[in-house]
């Protein structure tokens, strides 16, 4: 199962609409990094609105993707994290401290734009 990655000008848009498992999320990590390399993107928005469950491994990989993208010069914003997901993550002690977050795709894009241009 591969997650589609859309290119929009300088950004990559990714909406995760399947329940993530270990295999999918690793494949996803690889795809995102390749795509950043290929397109020379400056920003990435990962939208988690339809994700209802995130375990510690998936959270770790998502955090890794953010760090790796940063190394490649692309800023990542996670958007649309559901309350239930946020509560589980906090309960597990995962705070994703250095990761930028936004309420939804729209605000995520605004945030990226502000940070990259301003």
């Amino acid at each position: 199962m591969r997650i589609p990655i859309l290119k929009l000008y300088d950004y990559l848009l990714i909406s995760i609409q399947v329940e993530l498992d270990d295999q999918t999320v690793l494949q996803f990590q690889e795809d995102v990094l390749n795509k950043i390399h290929q397109e020379g993107s400056r920003g990435v928005v990962i939208d988690l609105t339809s994700v209802e469950m995130v375990d510690s491994y998936i959270a770790k990989v998502l955090g890794d993707v953010v760090d790796m993208s940063k190394l490649m010069g692309a800023k990542v914003v996670l958007t649309g994290i559901q309350p239930s997901v946020a509560i589980t993550l906090i309960d597990m002690g995962i705070t994703l401290e250095d990761v930028a977050t936004a309420l939804d795709l729209e605000q995520g894009l605004e945030k990226l734009q502000r940070e990259l241009e301003g």
Binding site: L78, P83, G108
Partner: protein, 275 residues
């Protein structure tokens, strides 16, 4: 009840009532009944003893029915349960004493005591269960009221919400706060949430932990948290306990927090007169 016992109880009714009224007059001063006027106290006593005699030839189901109306009124008027139980206890004592003084043979039967015991016990059960039922109702409705009041999220400007917290925070309430906070943030599309702890009397490690968790969860769903209303004594306890609140901004008053929140969303309040 055995008809002969019932008969002799009814025969001695006046005597028992006289003694009982005297007895109950005595513990009026020990209970919380001082501020009830004499006439009300007497009439209630009289009604009570009449009710007791009414139930003498009823089976237990009928007793419950008969007594519940009366107990409902007592509960509404706020008569203490103590009055009921002590009244019934002394009633039992007086009845047994009076009847055993008559010298009839059956008075020494164990059956005689059992009959009277079960009669009075039934009454006590009915009254106590009515009382405790009404208390449970009260506790339940107050709990619900408390829950409703416990964690409101108020949208004040576009993208800015305030959650005022008042009273002690326990784990159950903290969970509720977290849920309301996150759902409210999404519903109101808030960018900044101000958590006002002016009304929280004590901030210990547990409370601080819950607040920090809530703030981090808010950040995950894509908004910012500002903790406002930090009183001097709270600042002292937080630092003395070694709690690190450095991860999110804190302000002393809601006013200052609001100014910060407006700045974070690229707005400010302008005085029109100065223009």
């Amino acid at each position: 009840m055995h008809p002969s016992i019932k008969e002799s109880i009814l025969e001695k009714k006046d005597e028992i009532v006289e003694q009982w009224l005297e007895e109950i007059e005595q513990f009026r001063y020990e209970d919380y009944l001082q501020n009830i006027s004499d006439s009300v106290y007497r009439s209630t006593n009289r009604e009570f003893v009449d009710k007791i005699f009414e139930t003498v030839d009823l089976c237990s189901d009928d007793v419950y029915e008969r007594i519940s109306q009366y107990s409902e009124r007592l509960i509404q008027l706020g008569w203490p349960l103590n009055y009921i139980t002590r009244g019934l206890q002394s009633f039992r004592q007086i009845t047994v004493e009076t009847l055993s003084n008559t010298g009839d043979n059956y008075c020494y039967d164990i059956e005689f005591y059992q009959e009277i015991e079960s009669w009075i016990d039934n009454l006590i059960n009915a009254l106590v269960s009515d009382y405790s039922g009404s208390w449970e109702n009260t506790v339940f409705s107050q709990k619900m009221a408390l829950k409703e009041l416990s964690a409101p999220l108020i949208p004040v400007f576009d993208e800015i919400c305030v959650m005022p917290l008042i009273g002690t925070i326990d784990s159950e309430r903290a969970k509720l706060i977290m849920e309301n906070l996150l759902e409210g943030v999404i519903e109101n599309r808030a960018q900044v949430v101000l958590i006002d702890i002016t009304g929280v009397p004590v901030v210990d490690t547990m409370v601080a932990h819950h607040i920090i968790q809530a703030a981090e969860a808010v950040r995950l769903v894509g908004a910012e948290c500002i903790l406002v209303g930090i009183r001097p004594e709270i600042a002292q306890t937080v630092v003395n306990l070694g709690i690190d609140l450095g991860k999110f901004s804190t302000k002393s008053t809601l006013k200052k927090g609001m100014a910060t929140a407006l700045k974070m969303t690229d707005r400010e309040i302008v005085d029109l007169a100065s223009k």
